[in-house]
Amino acid sequence: MRIGPEEPCVPGFLSVYPSLAAQLPGAALPWLKRSRDEAFDRFAALGLPTTRDEDWKYTSVAAIARRVFRVEAAIEVSDEVRAVVLRHAIEGTQRMVFVDGHFVPGLSQPMPLRATLPEGARIGSLAQAVEAWADDVAPSFAAAGDAADGFTALNAAFWSDGAWIDLAAGVALEAPVHLLFVTTRSDGASFPRNLIRAGEGASATVIEHHVGPDGAGYLSDTVTRIVLGRGARIAHTKLQQEGRKAFHVADVAAEQGQDSAFLSHALAFGGQLSRAAIATRLGAEGCDAKLAGLYVGNGRQHMDHHTCIDHASPRGTSRELYKGVLDEAARAVFNGRVIVRPDAQRTDALQSNRNLLLSEEAEVDTKPQLEIWADDVKCAHGATVGQLDADQLHYLRARGIGERDARALLIRAFAADALAGIEHGPLRARLESLLPGALPEAV
């Protein structure tokens, strides 16, 4: 909903687009140019969302709207960046590194990627894919002009690069693909865009990982689109470890084919203001969707998760568990939508959001919602907000465990559920090790 011309519109982006457009990937491709222009017009019309939009009721992006970000078409790779990449590398994965939104083959590993890939698997940069495989890539840009909000429109207009993963029928990627997005510029804005397509029966694990320097108020505005063919399986883990002053806005959307399985984990640790929208549409019979999330915040961090599970076809099952741990003056927003369309009979959907408040100043706004238009369904949701249980603390203390250790134990146990479905051992170990760092005062 727009209410007037006084809406923030990030004038910086508006003025930079005409000159930048020619340097963006695929500038010479008429279909892509048109898609970017449409998205840009859409952004100009929408502006950034305000708290008057129901979807942004609890998350104000005024701080983003007030700033001027630099958007540039070229990057530099310093030794510092190399160190960052090594620090965030995850064992046993194929890594693609993007610096300020641009693919850097030299930091990616193993290279060339193609050599280690099974037949029928194409993994590479989206910027190259639009040139080389336009027919396969173009359909996913068709709806750029209908972007739901200003951020996705902005991404569709300005995207610089991202991963392109395309799996032919039956292809199973053994090792997870680790997409590491590193931001280096303090006032930069980057717009990564990823496309993942899994053909019939194909399967893969993709880790989308965002990191950046702590002192810098940069913006990363990301979009990931996932298409699952019949019986395909995609495990997508989004790990948000942006710098403490960063703004992070992400939009992940999956479209599921018959009997496909989509497994999503969204983990948020960094950023001053972060928002992740995770959506999946169970578009054909017998789909399975599992969404899990964990957000851990302190200081004045604001973390927003919006999920949408759209049961559009019969016999779908979905399970959703989001957990939050908030210390100091952190604030979390959770909005989980489950839709069961009129023909989606025999749907079975469960959703749960649990929040742990560790301080006087922390705040949670949660809104699980069910919209049900079919009758032969089993749907339930739950939400809780509370603090550590005094009885449990007492139990541990009575057994000689110090207060601090006892609290840490309970907090870890609380968070552990949300990580349970992560299959790649080194990734799970990494995630478990992040908790103490994220809550130095409490854990």
Binding site: D375, D376, A383, T384
Partner: protein, 482 residues
Amino acid sequence: MGKRPVQLDELISQEYRHGFYTALDVDDVPRGLSEDVVRLISAKKQEPAFMLEWRLKAFRHWLTMTEPHWATVRHPPIDYQDIVYYSAPRGKADGPKSLAEVDPELLRTYEKLGVPLQERELLAGVAVDAVFDSVSVATTFKEKLGELGIIFCSFSEAVHNHPELVQEYLGSVVPYTDNFFATLNSAVFSDGSFCYIPPGVRCPMELSTYFRINARNTGQFERTLIIADRGAYVSYLEGCTAPMRDENQLHAAVVELIAREGAQIKYSTVQNWYPGDKDGKGGIYNFVTKRGDCREANSKISWTQVETGSAITWKYPSVILRGDNSVGEFHSVALTNHWQQADTGTKMIHLGRNTKSTILSKGISAGHGSNAYRGLVKVAKSAVGARNYTQCDSLLLGDRCAAHTFPYIEVKNPTARVEHEASTSRIGEDQLFYCQSRGISAEDAVSLIVSGFCKEVFRQLPMEFAVEAQKLLGVSLEGSIG
């Protein structure tokens, strides 16, 4: 499930039992809304200056507002200039002195409605303040209540006889700026009930209002104000019906409850406004603002509602838990059938320490009905030790109906414990089979399961209402599944 279509037809053919129209000579104001109409309403009611001023402030504020559209209800635009804002049975403007003076036609109407107004109802112990369109017709038991210092009268009477109470409390829970429909009500409200329970008094009987929209093209804008002073207790019942009409009628009421230290107010509603016909034509738009204020410590306000009528129900009886240790409760059964839509729920605003709230909402959707629970549980920073438990269950009968749940939970205090649970399902075939294999007909089995589903809420209703509610539900749902 093969039998379902036939039985649904039976269900659809259920007629609205309260849909008769009483031909009465009425005294009304010209159609439409303007400052003059507001002045005219106030003049007809011979109100003191403070009331007129308040109405005008509300009207001027209303002009600056726009109709809200966030609810999941759909209706054609409402033409606010096509409504008659005041309609009173002629000759009654002076107010009847006793039952004998009341138009017998009117009494027969009440009799048809089953309003306990006469001798036999005395046994039921119900004092009724009946609102027929806009003027309160007769108030029983007034003397008996008077002995205890309880004031129970129409709003107009209260304005004349107890202006100091009205002035102190009117708009103190729902200010005239509150929302579009409440503001409209503040400008044009015609009558309603007023109740004051003095300190330490436990009201010996259930108080009751019976609202009924009779005249065509009129909106009903009543306003209820209940004040329970320190340590007082009152249980208040409200029932609603309206004649069958093709046009939609607007009902925008406001209810304000104030509970002072240690006071308890129990407010029960059985709402059975005309829901429209089986094609969704006609019916009442029930856009109501109800709010209670647990103003001082240890007070308690409890809302119980059974919503079976109205084309559209849009209301959120709420409690502001201001006093320490105060308690808020909301128990609701909402049934939508044919093309009915309901967007209802509650708001529990925890401000005081150790405040508690319980929300229990049961939604039943049948036919093309759409039922949404929308609720807010807000725990402010000051609400140390606040506790909320919410349960919303939906039952679906038929594959064209819809059930939605939109709970908003905002917590700013870590000592709060807030829990929300919701489930949606239809009547299980195994449950039906179990009953049927024991010789219970499908119809009885459904009604058994439905009453079991609603039992926790009905238990909160006073006896007479529980019976009526159960009957209403039975009528509306008979044979809706097979």
